[in-house]
């Protein structure tokens, strides 16, 4: 992050299309005050931002492998010095300061409940940070989880307040919210990129495929993070950033072995999902 030299690494940039030339123009940027540390330990800001309305403002959240979440006002994402967001959470994972298999990867999620509470959800990999506490925790987190924050105004300024942490999930991927239910999954992927004896030579498809397991889909109570349902051993393979989608009462997940799984409601009187189809893809 050296804006004076046109380097915006380990930061967030805003670009807009020039109405005349159509070229993308830099209009704003934010670099965390510890960007040098993020660079040194390879704690990239590699998560897609989420944007939402809050009390007449347009706010944005983002995170990275360091495992803190930033809350920003899109009018000025880093403040006057481009280093000061509205709010920065404490570390909620990656106490080991690892560049792989820890931190936040992929994207965030946000929704507003019926009472008007704005929620922001973050998946993360690896154990929860030992000093991070949420009012509701759903067991020991070793391999990953989803953490939920409420956007709350304090002294006239929006902040992020921890609400709950989900159960342990093996490499929790970006969650999706539908009708007050959070759908999340642990991908089961081996995300390690190095080994103690061969270093980065470990980071090969052969090694990582061999050590990946299976994905598990979870449905969580969006107010508490409590597990409502899981897919058990229905899914036979793992996936790599394939994502989760929901439409018309069905949840879709694809896996590395070329299958697409579809889960849907089988009993309308209680929360119960059943596997409706697993389709092998291919040419």
């Amino acid at each position: 992050m050296e804006p004076e030299h046109g380097v915006y690494g380990n930061g967030i940039i805003g670009v807009a299309s020039d109405p005349v030339t159509k070229a993308a123009k830099l209009v704003d940027y934010y670099g965390p005050s510890n960007a040098a540390w993020l660079w040194k330990r390879d704690l990239d800001m590699q998560v897609s931002c989420a944007i939402f309305k809050y009390k007449g403002k347009e706010l944005m959240v983002d995170a990275g492998k360091e495992c803190v979440m930033y809350l920003m006002d899109t009018d000025s994402i880093g403040g006057d010095d481009h280093r000061t967001p509205l709010h920065r959470t404490p570390l909620y994972c990656n106490e080991e300061v690892n560049f792989a298999s820890a931190g936040v990867w992929g994207s965030l999620a946000t929704w507003e409940d019926a009472r008007g509470t704005r929620w922001v959800l973050s998946p993360f990999w690896g154990p929860k940070h030992s000093k991070f506490v949420a009012p509701i925790e759903n067991g020991v987190v070793k391999k990953g989880a989803v953490v939920a924050f409420k956007v709350t105004e304090k002294a006239g300024k929006p902040t992020l307040v921890p609400a709950w942490i989900s159960r342990d999930m093996d490499r929790a991927e970006p969650p999706v919210i539908a009708n007050g239910v959070v759908f999340a999954y642990g991908s089961g992927e081996d995300t390690d990129q190095a080994a103690y004896d061969i270093g980065l030579e470990y980071n090969s498809a052969e090694q990582r495929i061999k050590h990946s397991t299976r994905a598990v889909l979870y449905a969580l109570d969006a107010q508490t993070g409590k597990e409502l349902w899981n897919s058990g051993d229905a899914i036979a393979s793992w996936n790599h950033w394939s994502g989760l989608s929901i439409a018309n009462g069905r949840v879709y997940l694809s896996t590395f072995d070329g299958y697409q799984y579809c889960f849907g409601l089988t009993n309308s009187s209680s929360f119960s999902l059943g596997q409706t189809a697993a389709t092998k893809g291919g040419k």
Partner: protein, 540 residues
């Protein structure tokens, strides 16, 4: 599909992973930094004269009390360092410390946090501990290095992540810039690593390109077994190998050009004094017998030749192991190649450097006179500086070249300033000699007063001197009771003027080798088992 996946899997590890954990000129590889024993780190991404002179830049960063049992006055070694490991637990800047109780400590030096620690399994000592033969682990943890003197390389890209990334942003519409454009044409990859093998010793690996391959540290346990361990977690790289007999008083362990070397002194146990080598491929141990002077072991010329200085005649030593000499030894056979004999005993590990295209050797005699020799012609000394005082000379030296090209030799002198030097020091000082255009040793500057100074350390032209606070006696209990506290100073390399001090931060005294450092930090270990870090602070 596998091809596509392999490409995808690389996401999250930036292109700059090319700056892997191979040998960096910012690293402190072995005792006195390198194979030439210069106690100098030639480049640094942060530390320089201007940085140090700015108040508040150089700070106390952290300290750690390590769980180690001292042997006599020996406690912790100065750490070997690694500016960047891309390891299974993350990107790390590490320091490797040996504890006299056969303990190893690997510290995340960014955070002052223990990465891993290990107690080596060693057979119990059979001889009682004395000041001369303290027992325990007597030499530091080291990383494999080479005897060749590499050209200084700037910090940052290729060495570590202590400086900002080099941008690869190209012109609009011109396509991406390439790594070769960023690096320049001078980049050459390090040797490839060898695969780990449990069956027996292998040539020490140097780490691989893109952080691949094994990366290993070595330690010499109190029972004479040499341990090779993965530096990321301390697991054995290969089983321990017999190097020295048990009970040796070993100094200057170094893994250089695929061989291990150490020096034994004081005739401890039944171990003859001399230079020892271990060929990792054949497991053959060779010995050159002689009373080797100094605390940092043997020094190596850029062609691999070993240089030692000797003090008194060693009982039972062959005729080619002369006393009061500077000796060149073949690194493979340990046969004497050349000898220069003086009329007084030497007390210091030689320092080797290149000056105007010539390899020079410098060492110190017991009266403080520095001897300067041409490695290619050791028949006569090029220059001998005036004697200072008996007992005033140190056990190792430091040497560096300043920005103007002047070659300096630094001496940790004990006692009042000798003639030729001006200043206010009464108990000790760093004396700086420079080599004149006609190849003679000329008095340069003397530092402020220092109590029992350690061998200075030079980082990017800044001289770091340690007032050790040690009250030297022949009784370890008296020394421990009457010693004061160490103070670290930064000195202007051209004038010796004090530009920074650690003040009262350090609470115990220090002894042994030079403090180590590099990549923006300095490390000092003290008698009470504490390691202190000073340097450039970045927000975590």
């Amino acid at each position: 599909m596998k091809t596509i996946l392999a490409a995808i899997l690389c996401c999250g590890l930036c292109v700059s992973a090319v700056s892997a954990q191979f040998r960096s000129t910012n690293d402190w590889m072995t005792e006195n930094a390198d194979a030439q024993r210069t106690a100098t780190v030639r480049t640094d991404p942060v530390i320089n004269k201007d940085f140090v002179a700015q108040p508040g830049n150089l700070k106390f960063l952290w300290k750690l009390k390590l769980k180690n049992q001292p042997n006599q006055l020996n406690n912790l070694s100065s750490p070997a360092t690694l500016e960047l490991l891309i390891g299974y637990r993350g990107f790390r800047m590490l320091g490797f410390v040996a504890g006299s109780g056969d303990n190893l400590f690997t510290i995340d030096t960014d955070l002052g946090r223990m990465e891993w620690e290990k107690k080596l399994k060693a057979a119990p000592a059979v001889a009682p501990s004395t000041l001369a033969c303290p027992g325990g682990m007597t030499t530091g943890v080291v990383r494999p290095t080479v005897s060749a003197i590499s050209a200084p390389r700037g910090g940052g890209f290729g060495g570590g992540r202590s400086t900002p990334a080099v941008s690869t942003v190209g012109e609009s519409g011109a396509g991406a810039t390439t790594l070769s454009e960023v690096r320049g044409s001078g980049f050459s990859p390090p040797p490839s690593a060898l695969p780990s093998d449990k069956s027996g010793p292998k040539t020490p690996p140097m780490g691989g390109v893109f952080g691949g391959g094994a990366n290993v540290i070595y330690a010499l346990a109190s029972d004479g077994m040499i341990h090779a361990m993965h530096l990321s977690n301390g697991a054995d790289f290969h089983p321990p190998v017999r190097f020295l007999p048990a009970g040796a008083n070993a100094h200057g362990l170094i893994i250089v050009d695929g061989m291990a070397y150490a020096v034994t002194t004081n005739g401890c146990g039944t171990v003859p004094n001399g230079v020892w080598s271990l060929d990792f491929d054949t497991q053959k141990v060779s010995t050159w017998k002689g009373n080797v002077a100094g605390s940092a072991g043997a020094a190596f010329g850029p062609d691999g030749t070993i240089y030692v200085a000797t003090n008194e005649e060693a009982p039972g030593a062959p005729a080619m192991s002369p006393a009061m000499s500077i000796v060149a030894i073949d690194a493979k056979t340990l046969q004497t190649k050349s000898v220069y004999t003086a009329s007084r005993i030497f007390v210091s590990t030689p320092v080797v450097f290149q000056h105007q295209g010539i390899t020079l050797i410098a060492t110190v005699a017991i009266d403080g006179a520095i001897y300067l020799l041409d490695a290619a012609n050791m028949a006569t000394a090029l220059s001998v500086s005036p004697a200072t005082a008996k007992g005033a000379a140190p056990s190792s030296l430091a040497s560096y070249v300043d920005a103007g090209g002047t070659r300096w030799i630094l001496v940790a002198h004990t006692g009042a300033l000798p003639s030729g030097f001006s200043g206010i020091a009464t108990q000790g000082a760093i004396l700086a000699y420079k080599i004149s255009e006609d190849g003679k040793l000329v008095a340069g500057w003397a530092s402020r007063n220092l109590v029992a100074p350690l061998t200075p350390t030079v980082i990017n032209g800044v001289v770091f001197a340690t007032s050790s606070g040690e009250f030297k006696t022949q009784d370890s209990k008296v020394t421990a009771a009457r010693s004061g506290r160490a103070v670290l100073y930064a000195l202007d390399g051209a004038t010796g003027k004090e530009v920074w001090s650690s003040g009262s931060t350090i609470t115990s005294f220090a002894r042994g080798g030079a403090l180590s450092g590099g990549a923006g930090q300095l490390y000092l270990t003290t008698y009470d088992g504490t390691i202190y870090a000073f340097g450039h602070s970045i927000e975590h």
